[in-house]
Amino acid sequence: MNRLVDHAEHDDITMLLPWYANGTLNEADRQRVDQHLATCGQCSDELSLCYEMQNATLADGAIPIPPAASASAIIGRRDWRSRFGFLGDRRTQRIAAVLAAVGLLFVLGMMQLSPTELPNQRFTATTSAGASDSMDYVLELRFSSGVSQAARSKILQELGGTAQPVGEADDVYAVLMNLPPQSLSDLDQLARDFAARDEIETAQFVALQVPVR
């Protein structure tokens, strides 16, 4: 009988351990746990794991500073949504996605037919004397939050181009990469490959440099 009672008590205490660890148990339950822990090695081990989980959860080392946000901006969003909320529903989004896809296919098709008459609007031409058998592409790279400066430098070195920060943001870099001429889809694939890395949040080719004649 005592063994049954002890077993039930053990199960009950095991369930309470997370709240013993976070310090929110009431006094009576806390004393029950204390008494049980004095004789139960298994629950002591469980409690150690609870503390480890708590420490791992509370550690704030890699958490960035929250962005400066304002309550009025949030309320403004509410007003925007109430006026244009229909734009946010799934059906509208699907229709917009289909229209965007059709538009993109149309633009790509036109580029195939007459590449010189319809320049790719995504790319901004800058000026530089460049070689004719390769082109300088500007890759805009946004690192994931929490990536150390050392890790960023290493990745930028791996890319092989010259890199400089964009604006005042310390996590966005423009990397000038000299590559053989690439198709739009190849560039997109290349950017996706970069973005697949855990350290990189987004990657996109945003400009190319063309020779000055």
């Binding site: 309470l16 709240w19 929110t24 989980m53 791992a56 509370l58 309550a71 009025s72 969003r77 939050s145």
Partner: protein, 174 residues
């Protein structure tokens, strides 16, 4: 901020008073941002979800029934919003390593705390969120149950099974 003060503020928010909402916003935004960031590891998503949570607070303050602390009610919204986003981001929240690939070499390389943190990230979203409610936000069992909108025993069971799974991931003997 104590609960009485928060109840007064929320009542004013329900009446549409912007300065009251501003105070709630400043008190909760950093905490909610960190809460979501720990779950998603995405700065942009954490900001977006924290703002969404506070937008819901602004829109639904009048629906607060008063049968829990204000903080528990807000954390309940955070729980549901995070769960919704985690469901959508299931592939993106897969940690860097496969639990089956944890070997002695990696064990020796990684600090135990980092290891535990990454193992927690392998848990199902509901268990991870419950862990966050209890260990990060320090909720009581009753508060965690209210925030998750489940019975107390479900919260206890989630925490218990989370430990079982974690031991499996960590290769601990138990």
């Amino acid at each position: 901020m104590d609960d009485d003060r928060e109840r007064q503020l929320l009542a004013r928010v329900a009446r549409g008073e912007h300065d009251a909402f501003d105070e709630v916003f400043r008190a909760y935004h950093p905490l909610l941002f960190r809460f979501v960031f720990k779950m998603t590891a995405s700065y942009r998503l954490a900001d977006e979800v924290a703002n969404d949570i506070l937008l819901i607070v602004w829109q639904t303050a009048s629906k607060f029934r008063g049968d829990s602390k204000v903080s528990t009610w807000i954390f309940g919204i955070a729980y549901r919003q995070s769960l919704r986003r985690l469901g959508k981001r299931r592939l993106k929240t897969v940690p860097l390593f496969d639990s089956a690939a944890v070997d002695e070499q990696s064990a020796s390389r990684m600090e135990r705390e980092d290891w535990v943190r990454q193992a927690i990230a392998l848990l199902p979203p509901k268990q991870r969120l419950t862990i966050m409610l209890v260990y990060y936000l320090g909720l009581t069992c009753d508060e965690a149950a209210k925030a998750s909108d489940v019975p107390i025993n479900t919260v206890k069971t989630r925490m218990f099974h989370a430990r079982r799974k974690l031991r499996g991931y960590l290769g601990d003997q138990s």
